[in-house]
Amino acid sequence: MPVLTVLTYPDARLKEVAKPVDSCDGALRTLVHDLETTMRASPGGVGIAAPQVGVLLRAVIVDVSIKKNIAHHGRMVLINPEILLWEDMAVGREGCMSVPDYTGNVMRAQRIKVQAYNEFGHATQYECVGYEARAVQHELDHLDGMLFIDRLVSRRHDLFARVKKN
C-alpha cells in the first residue's frame, strides 16, 4: 500500500475534469486503498481526491473523524458523487495538500446531501454538516478541476456597509 505522490499546483492535471468511474472493480478498490494511505500519511489530512494523485477519475475519500466534537460519518468513500442539496452558506478556512503553505477563506454550504457509490458499487447517501460538509465540497471540487484558491473570498470581513462618497 504505497503512499502516492500528491500533485501540487500548478500541475495542469489538477485543473482537469475527472471522468466517471465505470465499474467498482478490484482496480478501483486498489486505488481507494492507496488514496486512503496517502491521505492518512499527510498530517491533518481529512480528504483526498483521485485527481490529486494524477488519476482523473471521480473518486474521493473524506474522513474528518480526527477532529474532536463534530458530527461526522467516519470514513466515506464517494465514487461518482453528486451533491443533491446545499444549505446555509458560511465562510471557513481551507488549505490543501496540492497547494502547500497557503490557507484561505472559502464560502461553502454548511449542510449538504450527497449521493455516491462506495468502492463495492453500493449506492450510498450522506447528510453532512459543518466541517464534514466543507470537506466533501472541497474534495468534490477536485473532480471538476477546481481548487480552493479558485474560490477565495476576502479575508477582510465586512461587518458594516461601506459608505460610498460622491
Partner: protein
C-alpha cells in the same frame, strides 16, 4: 547575490500606484514576495518584500522617477526573510465598539499576556464623524490555548462597552 528588502511606500491615493511601482521594480530586475497593500485614510500604503541584487541605494534610485511623479514616500530596509514559512492561525478575534483611545492597547495587551501571537490585524473606523465605531479583526496563534484568551478578552472588555468575540479557526486540509 540577491537579498530581500522590505519596501514601504505611502502617498495620497491615486490611480496606477501599484502598476507603476511594480513595473519599475520588474524592469529593474526585482522579484516580488509577500505584500500588504491597502488604502488607509485616503492614502495608499504598500509593504512589499522585494528580492534585488543591488543595495538599498540602488533600489531607491530604481524607484525614484515613479515615487517622485506619484509623490510617494518610500522607505527601504534590507531584511532577513524567507518565503514558504507561513504559520497557520488557529484563532480569530473580532472587536468592535464606539471609537475611543485605548481599545487596541487594552485588548492586545491582555491577549499578549494570555499567549496570543498576532499574525494579521486589520482595523478600521466606520460609523459617522459624529459617532465613529472602531472595528478590529485579529488572526493569530493561541500559544496557551483558546480558553486562556477567552478569559483574558472577557476581563479586558468587561463593562467597557466594547464587544469582543473569539472563535477557533479550523483549517481544513483536503
Amino acid at each position: 547575490m540577491q537579498k530581500w528588502f522590505m519596501l514601504t511606500l505611502v502617498g495620497n491615493d491615486r490611480p496606477g500606484i501599484v502598476a507603476h511601482v511594480s513595473n519599475a521594480l520588474y524592469e529593474g530586475g526585482c522579484h516580488l514576495g509577500e505584500a500588504s497593500m491597502m488604502r488607509l485614510g485616503g492614502n495608499f500604503t504598500i509593504m512589499l518584500m522585494v528580492k534585488f541584487a543591488g543595495n538599498s541605494k540602488a533600489l531607491y534610485d530604481l524607484l525614484s522617477s515613479v515615487t517622485d511623479s506619484l509623490s510617494l514616500n518610500v522607505h527601504v530596509d534590507q531584511i532577513d526573510a524567507q518565503l514558504h514559512e507561513h504559520r497557520v492561525p488557529d484563532v480569530l478575534i473580532s472587536v468592535h465598539g464606539a471609537d475611543r483611545a485605548g481599545i487596541v492597547a487594552q485588548v492586545t495587551r491582555a491577549l499578549a499576556e494570555a499567549g496570543l501571537d498576532i499574525l494579521d490585524l486589520e482595523s478600521d473606523v466606520g460609523g459617522s464623524a459624529q459617532a465613529p465605531i472602531y472595528i478590529m479583526q485579529i488572526e493569530g496563534v493561541a500559544r496557551a490555548g483558546l480558553p486562556a484568551l477567552r478569559a483574558a478578552l472577557e476581563a479586558a472588555t468587561r463593562d467597557t462597552g466594547i464587544f469582543a468575540q473569539i472563535e477557533p479557526i479550523e483549517t481544513l486540509v483536503g
